[in-house]
């Protein structure tokens, strides 16, 4: 950690859906090259925060700065993986990635093949994604998120419905990416998987960040 300058700055971020405030004045700074885990109960605002960072939920008030740009301007630096796969079920993994590569002006198949191999899948697999196992689908979804080699990865529930072995493999992969300098945010309910891999645990409650810890410590308020 030689760079101490914050990559991502969130200032008094408020996000309302009608009368419901999903985020209530979140202010935080996140350094680059670190592995952040966002934890909290359902409805705490974890996914909304991630979607706001990805540029999918525009703030009602407040600001987000990513490399001194707003999330839309910084979209080439952001890789986003949601709870659903964000893939076309009727196409193979390679066909999916070939299409998404075009959206980032990536020509040829080399980068798509590399992304698929990096998550431990075979680019030659011709089966449609809809017939993949849940674990394979999650990996392919991760391959889509890293396709354009973003500096920041935003991953929402990447281990849900994935067996322990596959989840541990994904954690290993994320550690490698962090070591390669990527900034990673993971929203999860399976925090124990990330103990030892993550650099920071961010605790959210009722639309606010209430704590930031280096370790996954038992929480006296019962948040975990």
């Amino acid at each position: 950690m030689t760079e101490s300058a914050a990559t991502i700055r969130v200032t008094n971020l408020i996000k309302q859906f009608g009368r419901f405030a999903a985020l209530r004045g979140v202010t935080a700074e996140f350094d680059s090259g670190r592995f952040h885990v966002i934890l909290g109960d359902n409805g705490a605002g974890k996914t909304t925060l991630l979607r706001a960072l990805a540029g999918l939920a525009d703030p009602t008030r407040g600001e987000i700065s990513i490399f001194d740009k707003n999330p839309h301007e910084a979209c080439r630096e952001i890789g986003y993986m949601a709870h659903p796969s964000l893939l076309y079920d009727e196409m193979s993994g390679m066909e999916n990635l070939r299409y998404f590569a075009r959206l980032y002006d990536i020509a040829g198949d080399a980068r798509s093949s590399e992304a698929i191999r990096s998550v431990g899948l075979d680019p030659e697999l011709s089966r449609p994604v809809g017939k993949y196992s849940q674990g394979m689908r999650q990996r392919m979804s991760l391959a889509r998120a890293i396709l354009h080699d973003p500096k920041i990865l935003l991953l929402d529930e990447p281990f849900s419905n994935v067996d322990v072995h596959s989840a541990q493999e994904m954690v290993g992969l994320l550690k490698q990416m962090r070591d390669a300098g990527k900034t990673i945010f993971v929203v999860t309910h399976q925090a124990a998987l990330l103990e030892g891999a993550a650099d920071e645990f961010i605790w959210m409650q009722a639309g606010q960040i209430v704590d930031r810890t280096r370790h996954l410590v038992p929480d006296p308020a019962g948040r975990a």
Binding site: Y80, Y88, Y99
Partner: protein
């Protein structure tokens, strides 16, 4: 500009591939318009002159309803697995997605028209008394009018709970000038009663105005939560 063109082409190719594999839209459209042709032919028993008078209305109404089936499918595919979010987080221009969807729907509806028009001719014993070649610009401009607005309003109703109902509610009223132009132009060409030029120019104007408006507004629709 090259990025807009290449992403439009990539998205169009992807959509054609998905439709080729699932055949969701084309099958529903074909079945629906075939039903309309058969039911109309049993419901009315017009002579040759009456056929020429009413065929324009029947054929375009059938295509309008059939197009709605395809238009609803267009965006439904992007909602499964929230794939649209993958597009929204990318630097790809919103209009590339819109143009690809419009072109995809245009191809589908034109294909349907190409298959169904001869059937209409047979069932209603139609023969154009005016310049038949003018049916081609009417069909092209009319189809474009339907799909450009239809694609836009289908995107607009994407996040509503009853989008299948919402699309015709939004689309049909705004399509009235275009449908009237199509019907009148077709009737004039079939009966040979006057010149269809005015209606063709009106259709062209309608297409230019609404294509421009849809392109200007689509990014707002795409990024809406």
């Amino acid at each position: 500009m090259s990025s807009l063109r290449s992403i439009t082409l990539a998205t169009l190719t992807k959509d054609v591939r998905l439709e080729w594999r699932s055949k969701d839209a084309i099958n529903s459209m074909l079945f629906f318009s075939l039903l309309v042709v058969v039911i109309f032919s049993f419901s009315f028993d017009p002579n040759a002159e009456e056929s020429r008078q009413i065929a324009g209305g029947l054929i375009w109404v059938a295509f309008l309803f059939a197009a709605v089936v395809a238009l609803n499918q267009t965006w439904a595919r992007e909602l499964r697995n929230q794939v649209l979010d993958a597009y929204r987080v990318s630097p790809a221009p919103a209009n590339a997605l819109f143009m690809a969807k419009v072109l995809g729907n245009f191809i589908l509806v034109s294909l349907l028209e190409g298959l169904m028009a001869p059937l209409f001719m047979i069932f209603y014993n139609l023969r154009a008394l005016g310049p038949a070649w003018q049916l081609i610009p009417v069909a092209l401009l009319g189809t474009w009018a339907l799909v450009v607005n239809g694609t836009f309003f289908a995107a607009m109703s994407l996040r509503t709970r009853s989008r299948e109902i919402m699309l015709p509610l939004l689309l049909f009223p705004i399509s009235i000038p275009a449908v009237q132009s199509m019907v009148e132009a077709t009737r004039i060409i079939l009966t040979g009663d006057g010149a269809a030029r005015f209606w063709i120019v009106l259709l062209l104007t309608y297409d230019v105005v609404f294509t421009t408006a849809c392109l200007a507004l689509f990014e707002t629709i795409l990024q809406a939560e």
